[in-house]
């Protein structure tokens, strides 16, 4: 069932991207990787993934949000996860503007980067309704 589903992974930390890619392939999905907002925008022009995982801070502090907005316009039904290394539960955000932006550019899910692979797998399945 998972076969044939493609997930777009975007992160400018090549190590994190490598690990994420490895884990997600192990779940049985196909992956497309991009290391920047720009690269991801190019991919989205021609390809519709079944789900996308965006890092928040890349070339710009709000790259993830911009990608989220652009992807939503083109593929309104594609689920989006924003992954960030900032603990959302501390209530202290590194950039308070993004807190407010968070409210009007809605990703389907915000994830902490340290999340366990099995948790991530569960969340992806939930969003893909598998």
């Amino acid at each position: 069932m998972e076969e044939g589903k493609t997930i777009l992974l975007v992160d400018d930390d090549s190590d994190y991207l490598f690990q994420l890619d490895h884990n997600i392939k192990k779940f049985g999905f196909q992956t497309i990787s991009a290391e920047s907002q720009k690269e991801a925008e190019e991919i989205l022009k021609t390809t519709k993934p079944d789900l996308a995982i965006f890092d928040l801070m890349m070339e710009n502090d709000d790259s993830g949000f911009i990608l989220c907005y652009k992807a939503r316009q083109k593929y309104p039904d594609m689920p989006i996860i924003i992954a960030t290394a900032v603990a959302s539960e501390t209530g202290i955000s590194f950039d308070l503007h993004s807190e407010s932006e968070r409210k009007w550019i809605k990703a389907d899910l915000y994830l902490e980067k340290g999340i366990r692979p099995d948790q991530l797998h569960r969340e992806i399945n939930k969003l893909l309704k598998i």
Binding site: H22, E35, S36, A85, L96, S100
Partner: protein, 384 residues
């Protein structure tokens, strides 16, 4: 109960009274707050009346409709910014387009509530802002008390430290699970990456120590007659292995000696940072020119490279903490994002100045100007 003054600006009387009804009994509290915070609600039907109210009353929050009969919501926002009032604006607008939202937030609006909104949405926006105001007040209070707690700094720092820790942890888990089999050779690449990430974390921590020492003023400054040229020479020597790796030539020009009243450690940090950046962001086979000369009672240090350069937008944010210019060209260059903010802080301590000149693809040139109180040559003799 502490109360924040909220000014509701909307030309529709129904909306004004509606918001008042929603907020009259609303209050915000948190486990870590001593006080419960409530709201005094005031209202104004036009932008002009709003401005006159804000001018005469301490206003904490403005709920601002964008479409008004006279001047527009965005004009009121601009006015508040110009006056630098301690007032936060939440924009309310029926045109919930991204453009209006982006424009308003760019102009300094804190948040954005699209019309029509539910009482819950309005309360959530207000709760969010109240928490922000509270944290800000608490921070400034703590700063006043001399406690160097900087929420923003700490949270950015935790982000910068968490990224490498996540990467390192991820690789360790992969090794633990024998993801690539039982042969050690298969893990060589991962080990190289692990070393790289731990090294860059070490660099970040060292820079952070420099910065906190400078900021807390704990580091004892030992001002003495110090030769900048000598320090530049030792900085160049230190960077040589790194320069050879990148095939970058470093040249030192200018005075043979330039003495000024300074702390040698501080000058060393300045020069090390500028020269290592000039190598780091250079092209393979490029060059670095370091020019040190006395000029009308000032010591001028210029470090130029033939590297990747920066555009205007990138140059503008260069001296802020944790700013790393992220683009295709820099993605494989590691750094803490603290170096130049450290340099800037040190230069400020000497009442000096630092500026940058840069062109993408051609290179950057950083100039530090320090008032040289004791000098060689004519400046010193002029002083007599």
């Amino acid at each position: 109960m502490e109360k924040l003054t909220v000014l509701v600006v909307d030309d529709e009387a129904g909306i004004r009274s509606g918001i008042e009804r929603i907020l009259r009994k609303f209050s915000v509290d948190y486990p870590f707050m001593d006080n419960v915070i409530g709201y005094n609600i005031e209202s104004a039907p036009t932008g002009e009346e709003a401005i006159s109210f804000i001018n005469n009353n301490q206003t904490d929050i403005v709920l601002l409709d964008n479409k008004l009969p006279g001047i527009q919501g965005n004009d009121v926002l601009e006015y508040i910014n110009q006056k630098q009032y301690d007032t936060y604006v939440i924009m309310i607008t029926s045109h919930a387009s991204l453009e209006v939202a982006v424009k308003a937030t760019k102009n300094g609006a804190y948040d954005f509530v699209p019309k029509p909104f539910t009482p819950q949405e309005l309360k959530a926006a207000l709760e969010n802002l109240t928490r922000h105001i509270f944290l800000k007040r608490m921070t400034s209070q703590l700063n006043k008390e001399g406690k160097q707690i900087r929420f923003q700094f700490l949270s950015v720092m935790s982000h910068e430290l968490k990224a490498p820790i996540n990467a390192i942890e991820g690789y360790i888990k992969m090794m633990q699970n024998r993801e690539f089999g039982n042969k050690m050779d298969e893990y060589d690449e991962i080990i190289t990456r692990l070393k790289k990430r731990t090294e860059s974390m070490r660099g970040l921590i060292m820079d952070m120590l420099d910065l906190t020492q400078i900021e807390s003023g704990k580091k004892k400054r030992e001002l003495a007659k110090t030769d900048i040229v000598k320090i530049a020479n030792s900085a160049i020597d230190m960077m040589k292995p790194f320069a050879i790796q990148k095939d970058v030539m470093i040249h030192l020009h200018g005075n043979d000696e330039l003495k000024m009243q300074a702390d040698p450690d501080e000058l060393e940090i300045i020069l090390n940072n500028l020269i290592s950046n000039a190598i780091k962001y250079n092209k393979q086979g490029g060059k670095v020119d370091c020019n040190i000369r006395a000029n009308k009672g000032f010591a001028t240090i210029t470090v130029s490279d033939t590297g990747i350069g920066m555009n205007k937008t990138e140059q503008a944010k260069l001296f802020n903490e944790f700013v790393r210019i992220k683009n295709e060209k820099t993605k494989n260059i590691s750094g803490s994002g603290l170096g130049l903010s450290i340099v800037k802080k040190l230069v400020d301590m000497y009442n000096g100045d630092i500026n940058v000149c840069s062109k993408p693809e051609e290179g950057s040139s950083f100039t530090v100007i320090l008032p040289a109180y004791t000098n060689t040559g004519e400046e010193a003799s002029n002083k007599k």
